[in-house]
């Protein structure tokens, strides 16, 4: 019977092409706009590393003296000072962890054939690759020994390897970062992320870095950050070394804590460290304060999905509701016009359930067609977002779940629109229409 209803639906759509096309377009436009905003929202709010988001943590220390104020909700700076990052990394503990910051270099091969390009780079310790599970195409991360004593090594991304070495294994070869030669130890896949969750400080939706060099290079080459540097008190800086010893915050730090016990142990380590620093004249405050957030908490804390995004999604659903109201009106007109035929069907033995099902299937066919057309409109909308705002390039896309959600929402919307007209028409009293046909 279901296939028969689909057949009847297609005939009905063909017999009233104008009204049917209007309904399909109404739902398609509603779905198109809704899915455009919902897709961006979905990409923004999705867990970037679902299997590890509860294990990877970002520590924050309240470095300010008593009375100091920061603009975060909990009054704790959202980055670390260089000295705290180094001290936490060097602390005697077994948890994989790494400080990190974004910078950049002029990349070239010191030959006239290859034009130098400015490429963003991330300064990290070797543990960064395992914490964030960066897959290597060639080679491996540098060793502990290398990062301590022979730090002029680099891990390059696949795209740089393709451009400079035609995709061949470049491990062991050298490239120049600014005016220094670095030995390539590994080639990692390009990081195809939607949210740059490991460095929200530089824009949650920025593009990933294409080079990774040891964090220990920073003091040697006096490498500055490409991100924000903030302070809570007036400090006079005399050169790079004083930046490293300052109370300015500009370094991110990640630690992998797989269990609650590990989290507790690392919390104790932080507290012990802060007490130690307090004894040395820092952290002049009554209550030592720190935070340790996992990736999910970190994204929420940094309000990656802003209120504006939520409002936009809400508005687009309200627009869909307007479309549904229009479809409801069109369906009422269409179905009530068909009441005489329904009267005949009822006389011939159709129950109300039969009539209701027939009309709901017809509405669903219209909804499905609208949903599919809506995906096309959503793709156009997302293309528009991508081309007008490069910042949202990685976000303005539909993944499989959104591709499936589009027809599902369209079906639900059309079902809602069709409920009342279908209910009304299934209540048709056959006797009224049989004589007047």
């Amino acid at each position: 019977m279901f296939l028969h209803y689909i057949d009847l639906s297609i005939r009905s759509i063909k017999s009233t092409p104008v009204i049917s096309v209007l309904m399909v377009f109404a739902i398609a436009i509603g779905i198109g706009l809704t899915m455009t905003s919902l897709s961006v929202f979905h990409m923004m709010s999705m867990d970037p590393i679902p299997h590890k988001s509860q294990a990877i943590h970002f520590p924050q220390l309240n470095i300010m003296d008593e009375g100091g104020e920061w603009h975060t909700d909990d009054n704790i700076p959202y980055q670390l000072t260089y000295q705290d990052a180094i001290n936490l990394y060097n602390a005697d503990a077994d948890f994989p962890r790494s400080p990190s910051f974004r910078s950049g270099f002029s990349v070239h091969l010191n030959t006239p054939d290859v034009k130098p390009t400015m490429e963003p780079a991330r300064l990290v310790y070797q543990e960064f690759f395992s914490i964030f599970e960066r897959p290597f195409i060639f080679g491996a991360p540098w060793s502990k020994e290398e990062q301590q004593s022979k730090p002029y090594v680099v891990v390059i991304s696949e795209s740089i390897n393709n451009r400079l070495f035609n995709g061949q294994n470049s491990v062991g070869k050298s490239i120049y970062l600014d005016n220094k030669s670095y030995r390539i130890v590994g080639v990692v896949e390009d990081w195809d992320h939607h949210i740059k969750y490991y460095d929200l400080n530089n824009g949650a939706f920025n593009s990933p870095e294409k080079l990774y060099v040891p964090f220990s290079i920073a003091p040697l080459e006096e490498i500055g950050t490409w991100g924000n540097t903030n302070g809570w008190k007036h400090e006079t800086l005399n050169g790079y070394q004083s930046l490293l010893q300052s109370e300015l915050v500009w370094v991110q730090f990640w630690v992998q804590l797989n269990t609650a016990a590990e989290k507790e142990a690392f919390s104790a380590l932080i507290m012990a460290y802060m007490e130690d620093q307090q004894s040395k004249g820092r952290f002049n405050r009554d209550n030592l304060q720190y935070a340790l957030r996992n990736v999910t908490q970190w994204l929420k804390y940094n309000q990656v999905v802003s209120e504006d995004n939520r409002i936009l999604v809400g508005l687009s659903f309200m627009f869909l509701l307007v479309c549904v109201a229009n479809i409801l009106g069109l369906l009422l007109a269409k179905f009530l016009k068909r009441a005489p035929e329904v009267g005949v069907r009822r006389a011939l033995g159709a129950s109300k359930k039969h009539i209701f099902a027939q009309h709901i299937v017809e509405v669903s066919v219209i909804g499905l067609a609208g949903g599919i057309l809506g995906i096309v409109i959503a793709q156009l909308g997302l293309w528009g977002v991508r081309t007008t705002n490069r910042y949202y390039e990685a976000l303005a896309t539909m993944d499989v779940s959104m591709l499936l959600a589009a027809p599902t929402i369209a079906l639900m919307a059309s079902f809602i629109a069709g409920l009342y007209p279908a209910w009304l028409v299934c209540r048709t009293q056959p006797a009224i229409y049989l004589k007047s046909q």
Partner: protein
């Protein structure tokens, strides 16, 4: 087959009560062919609609094939319509988007008859009304007489024991009307009980039993065969109306 005892039907609006049928009692036996006559607005069609379970009655008792219709739900009445009753309407009431074959198929689909069996029955019925060759035509491609024959085929497809015809020849010329009447007689001879509402005295005369409805009441019961119909000259009266509270 059909027993109505003191059946009444009142149409009620905010201010007006219209008695379409009052104290209507009738028994129709299995295999009968009854012509129902009466002036316009006398309640013939209301009687037919109630008999055919197309609308509920207000009072009285109605039993069809041993089933008390009064207590049935809407779905149960739909089932009985589908399984026991065939309808032939003055306006044919074919579904314009469906071809002849599909129109005849409609009641069988609601009955859940398997596709193979449906095909056999449809072709059989179309053959019986002489339209097997037009199975793929749309209703609008047929003449009025042919459309009514399709409607008869549709009514027969479900093998109903009870056939209701409301002015089946009302929209047809004399020749076509005669052909349709001959078809109904043949169906009756094959065992179906037929109740036919008609204005046409000649057609009524061909039915073995005539009843006349006037002002929503059974005015006359006439058993005859080949006798002239007395109902033809019945005066034109509307159903009785009274103003509520007036």
């Amino acid at each position: 087959m059909l027993t109505m005892h003191n059946v009444g039907k009142i149409y009620q609006t905010d201010s007006v009560q219209t008695h379409a049928l009052r104290d209507f009692s009738l028994t129709v036996n299995e295999g009968e062919f009854i012509a129902v006559t009466g002036p316009s607005g006398s309640g013939k069609t209301t009687f037919l609609n109630i008999a055919g379970l197309l609308e509920p009655f207000t009072s009285g008792q109605y039993t069809l094939d041993g089933i008390d219709i009064g207590g049935l739900s809407d779905n149960q009445r739909a089932d009985i319509r589908n399984q026991k009753i065939g309808y032939i309407f003055q306006g044919f009431n074919l579904i314009p988007d469906l071809n002849i074959y599909e129109n005849v198929e409609v009641p069988l689909r609601y009955r859940g008859v398997p596709a193979k069996e449906r095909k056999v029955r449809i072709l059989e019925c179309l053959e019986q009304v002489g339209l097997a060759s037009r199975a793929r035509h749309l209703p609008q491609q047929l003449s009025g007489g042919q459309q009514q024959r399709v409607a008869i085929a549709r009514a027969l497809a479900g093998k109903p024991r009870f056939l209701l015809a409301d002015e089946p020849t009302g929209n047809l010329d004399t020749l076509m009307a005669r052909q349709v009447m001959e078809l109904l007689e043949e169906i009756n001879q094959n065992g179906a009980t037929i109740v036919m509402v008609t204005h046409d005295p000649e057609l009524a005369r061909r039915a073995p039993r005539n009843i006349q409805v006037v002002d929503g009441e059974l005015a006359d019961l006439t058993f005859y065969q080949g006798k002239p119909a007395t109902s033809a000259s019945a005066p034109e009266k509307s159903a009785h109306e009274s103003v509520v509270g007036g």
